[in-house]
Amino acid sequence: MTQKKKHYFVGIDAGSRTTKAVLLDDEGNLVSAIRPTGINVGATAEEVFGDVLGQVDATPRDVKYLVGTGYGRVSLEFADTTVTELSCHALGANFINPEIRMVIDIGGQDSKVIQLDENGSMVDFIMNDKCAAGTGKFLEMVARKLETDLENLSDIHFESEQPCAINSMCVVFVETEIISLLARGESAANIVSGVNWAFANRIGNMARRLGIKEQYVLTGGVAKNRGLKDALNQYLGVPFAPLGIDPQINGALGAAVLALRSS
């Protein structure tokens, strides 16, 4: 970032678990910030907004346009406009690479598959049903049950010799299933790998229902789980295109891109 006076465009993605902000300048440089959403969506959004402004030493007055998105978008009173994260993920991916035609986004409380055109317009989408199956929350529960964290969950996937067959995708029932597997003496690695495979099948089938379009990327916090990413790649048979940014901020980036286009 240079020091001269610039115009800025901000996207804030208030997700169910984390709130993300991306600030773009008129040359397309970006900075970002992430915070846990907590219980006060509006306050957290102001904080991440402050975070990105701080990084470029700017004030809200330097921001020409601000777009809010995500589950908590209605709480963003200071946004110039709001749009769904479905459209934002399409715009974010298009900004990174205009060749991208599909985004698989796995967030804290839902997962979605989005098709986009060469302009970054969302042309079709599909979302999971109203439960935690196939979401970040599901993996959080698995990590807790295995007394580990999300980072480790990602690593031990690759230590598995024989992934367990996991049948349940419901957070409530998978807990019972994990207890049974532990009781049978299964290793944590086999359980984790089994969970990732079951997860990959579910998300993969959702993507196939919509129709796989290349090139495609994986976004959302869950994209940081290398085990799941690997399983999903193998299940779908086509590697993900590189994203080049933190996969968690793609929605906020799309909102910032829209801010840039709207101003």
């Binding site: 589950y71 749009v83 769904t84 994260e85 479905l86 459209s87 409380q109 839902d110 317009s121 969302m122 042309v123 079709d124 989408f125 979302m127 049903d129 109203k130």
Partner: protein, 391 residues
Amino acid sequence: MATVTETIQEVHNDFALTLEMAKDEGKKVVGCLCSYSPTELILAAGAIPVGLCGSTQEPITKAEEILSPDQCPKVKATYGRAIAGTCPIFPLADCVIAETTCDGRKKMYELLEREVPMCVMDLPQKPDTSAALDHWIEEVRKAKTYLEQQLGVTITDDNLREAIAKGNRRRKLITNLYYCRIHNPGPINGLEFINTMTKLQYYIDIDNHLETLEQFYSSLQEQIDKKVHAHSANQPRILWTGLGNSLGCSKVLELVEECGGVVVCQEGCGGVTRSEDQIILMEDEDPIVSIAKRYLRVTCACMTPNNQRFDDLTRLCDEFKIDGVIDLAWQFCQPFEIESYRVKELVKDTLDLPFLHIVTDYSQSDTEQLRIRVEGFMEQIATRKRHDRRN
């Protein structure tokens, strides 16, 4: 036109009062649970047909004391309406006519029969076969005999012919009402329309009812003539298919209109295809046969194959200049849920229109999750319209 202020509960309460008065005067009341119920039999018996299908969340908790929670909300709400003691209309039914449509319903009817005298008609589910029609004709005949015995009346062919004429008149008027929304911009929004239609479906006297429908039609016509519009011409025009078409379980429809869309056509349960198909009454034909033929043509997903639904959807998307199709299935409704795949193929691949499939229940628990889908769908349609304008 008044805005939507009355809740379904208030509609029920008001109607229950007038229904009680009619009963005091010796009128009989027959409950119906589905579009397959031949209401002409009830009218011919001089009784009042009343829809008793459950469309609200409240009675579900009570129903779950008996039924497993993994049943569709319609099945649970209908049963709950009977046993929860909160529905003022249900206790007024002298008997109920029902049909073996989906598994959830027909098994629930085994329990519902303990609450009210019921005639469960055996509905054949491959309607295109001649054996199916023969069987259904016999079932309609049995239902007629059942009503005669239950209500202590004799239903003559003349009674049936008169009832058919009125039933046809009723369907014609309802169809005309649906078609008022072919105009763009139109005189009424989807939510207000289903609100009024839900209220109008309750009637004591068929002749008064026909008059009320006429009045509603005239008021819409007047708005059309005077160019009084309920929405603008560039709002996404949505065709609604599947379920979720009545007041009380209209949360997704409400969301659609909150997010800027306008539901201009409804196909499916409670939709236009349930009214536009008439009973063809021929002089030399037994009216029971004419009635049976018409009711076997209802295009519920419990039928296999249900091809007419797809022809209807194709035609309606064209007639109503549809921008996008929303297909709603209640959770655990296997027939509509599986058939949705074919609806998707038709809408997306053949008609090349944006398509949104929604699975939900009657509760408000997922409203915000649904809002993202609906809002996203509106964005998708807006993109498409911009793109189409450019080309």
